[in-house]
């Protein structure tokens, strides 16, 4: 019914965009053709850019009456075969948790961007990383989730594209945990050539030659092939504890364990494939700075200064993926160090899984908090020098 104007996605080459715009463009390049959103600072620009661009490429945009409606609309869009996204900030993110939980249980691909701002409550409209635990544990119930942490305008494009690919590949909601810093900054973005961009689409039962009569909506594979509405598969999406065929009548605890464990393992057993980290200067280091998101930008600056001007043998690790947490990957590469510093725009959240992973590799883990604004290199460096004095 609508043209799919792939000729009108962002062309290859250099662009100068706001992180928000890059995010919306990454989604469109990935094939997102449905956006449902609600205004909230500092995420509104993503929505406005999507409203502007989606009809150009043959997609549809709607501003819903609230965040719960926005997230819920993504479910229907995804089940009807579209790649769908919304962007919100921290208060809206809290509202979406029931839908996220439901999406996990029904194994529905969708992308939610959280441009974090300080809380609790209205907090303020500046930058923050205070939702990183909510990303993993905010949904009720078990199951796992994927959450990425961009640090640049380029990342806002690349990671959004990747978020869609991951959601289609693993049949799961994927979160992009951005911050006001990276959403509002303008930087150069380089879009690769068409053949360099990989797009992943969900596997459908017809791709595997599975006929409607033998289709099991939650079966066949660790990541079940997903039938789309309107193709004759009579697929019932249910979030009550279910059998692989979607049956909810015969409850027993072993079905329950199998149903929910598989969803959990689907992500957690594949951390090595899913999670990405970046490391620098690990060779011969005595201390370690672990960052994620925008703070990584300050982090690199601080580490360079620490090494070059203060002779501190400090290494740098950036978590590009917050969840599933790359515990094994970290343990595989991090040597014995004295102090691990974790600067966060919160009072210390990711420091917990980091500590859990590396407690026996270090003397201590030290949080360096900054609330409401990006750490300056001085803030991080002064704290490091203070602790190491």
């Amino acid at each position: 019914m609508s043209p799919n104007r792939t000729d009108l996605i962002l062309p290859p080459g250099a662009h100068y965009l706001q992180g928000s715009q890059a995010c919306a463009e990454g989604a469109i390049t990935a094939g997102c053709r449905v956006y449902a959103g609600y205004p909230i600072t500092p995420a509104t620009e993503i929505m406005e850019h999507a409203a502007h661009r989606l009809p150009q490429v043959g997609g549809r945009f709607i501003q819903m009456e609230d965040e719960i409606g926005s997230a819920s609309a993504l479910l229907g869009a995804s089940w009807a075969g579209a790649k769908a996204m919304t962007a919100t900030s921290s208060p809206g993110f809290s509202l979406m948790q029931e839908v996220i939980s439901f999406a996990i249980m029904t194994e529905t691909p969708l992308v939610i961007v959280d441009v974090q701002r300080p809380g609790p409550g209205q907090g303020y409209i500046t930058t923050s990383q205070e939702d990183v635990m909510q990303a993993r544990w905010g949904h009720h119930g078990e199951g796992s989730i994927i959450a990425l942490s961009p640090a640049s305008v380029q990342d806002m494009f690349d990671f959004t594209l990747e978020a869609f690919n991951l959601s289609e590949r693993w049949r799961t909601p994927v979160l992009l945990m951005a911050e006001e810093t990276v959403a509002h900054m303008r930087e150069r973005l380089v879009v690769p050539s068409r053949d360099e961009i990989q797009i992943v689409n969900r596997t459908r039962p017809k791709d595997l030659g599975i006929a409607p009569e033998s289709y099991l909506p939650y079966g066949h594979a660790e990541v079940p092939p997903m039938a789309v509405w309107g193709e004759g598969y009579a697929v019932n999406h249910v979030s009550l504890v279910h059998h692989t065929d979607g049956n909810v009548t015969r409850y027993n605890s072993s079905v329950h364990l199998e149903n929910v464990s598989r969803i959990h393992r689907k992500i957690e057993d594949h951390v090595d494939e899913i999670a990405r980290i970046e490391t620098r200067w690990l060779e011969g280091c005595r201390h370690l700075l672990v960052c994620y998101g925008s703070v990584s930008r300050t982090g690199v600056e601080a580490v360079l200064e620490a090494r070059e001007q203060r002779n501190i043998p400090l290494a740098f690790i950036r978590l590009k993926t917050l969840w599933p947490f790359p515990e094994r990957q970290l343990r595989a590469i991090v040597p014995e160090v004295d102090t691990i510093f974790v600067p966060e725009m919160n009072l210390g959240m990711m420091k917990h899984p980091i500590t859990e992973a590396l407690r026996d590799r270090c003397r201590r883990v030290v949080s360096i908090p900054s609330l409401g604004s990006l750490h300056s290199p001085e803030l991080i460096l002064d704290r490091i020098c203070e602790e190491l004095a």
Binding site: P55, D66, G69, S70, A80, G230, A234, L240, G246, N247
Partner: protein, 279 residues
Amino acid sequence: MKKHPMLKYLKEEAPAGPRLPLIMCPGCGAGQVLNYALHAVDTLIREDGLRKEDFVFISGVGCSSRLASHYLNFDSGWTLHGRALAVATGALLANPGLKVIVLTGDGDAAAIGGNHFIHACRRNLNMTILCINNGLYGMTGGQVAPTTPIGRTTTTTPYGNVEEEFDLCRLAQTAGAAYVARWSTAHPHQTIKTIIKGIRKKGTAFVEILSQCPVHLKTAPAEMFRDLKKNTVPLKKAGKSEAKGRIPVGVFCDIDKPDWVTRYQEIIGRLERVESTHE
């Protein structure tokens, strides 16, 4: 034994075991509504050349919403309490060709789902909303709902309800739905005809179906059924003196206006012709 004619639209068995019977209480009206809806769909398949795969049933949570679950031999989504209409909105944006039927209850649509309800009606998206109104929260044990009459005793109004009830049809009409009607489980033929018209209608069709909950209202189903007939009055007689105290049933409005997707498609069409100058 002859099989029920609508059984072809249900999934009886599946690898993990039988899916029927429905979990509804004996005498519940919800099963009847499903029956009427399936008759309507059956007619559309035979008369309008529609196919089974064109239809999708979306529900929220509650007794009414249980109808769109794993025993439907259609594409379906048994979603979140109050959110069925938002889910349906997204589905239509992705595939406007789907014939979307939303199964919801009075609590699901008018309490927790109230906001999505008024906006779905206002947007005039091409969907048919079947709201099974039993005047209480059935699944959770009989609590008061926005549709419970004033004075009624429920588990959360043990001394009598102090609130007035919604007129859901008036609400839908005011919110902008193109087609608004009310019947009851005791009006099978009218209900089926109205559902057919609603699905054929371009835009939001809201059909409220008054339904009996014999368990929580502690009244025999047959008596409730008779009461539904007795306490309702067809619209054209609603002004007469005999109508006092009775609930009007019938079609309240039937307007022709473009639906949401049609309006949005005009934008897409316009943009197609213009060379894109996005930044």
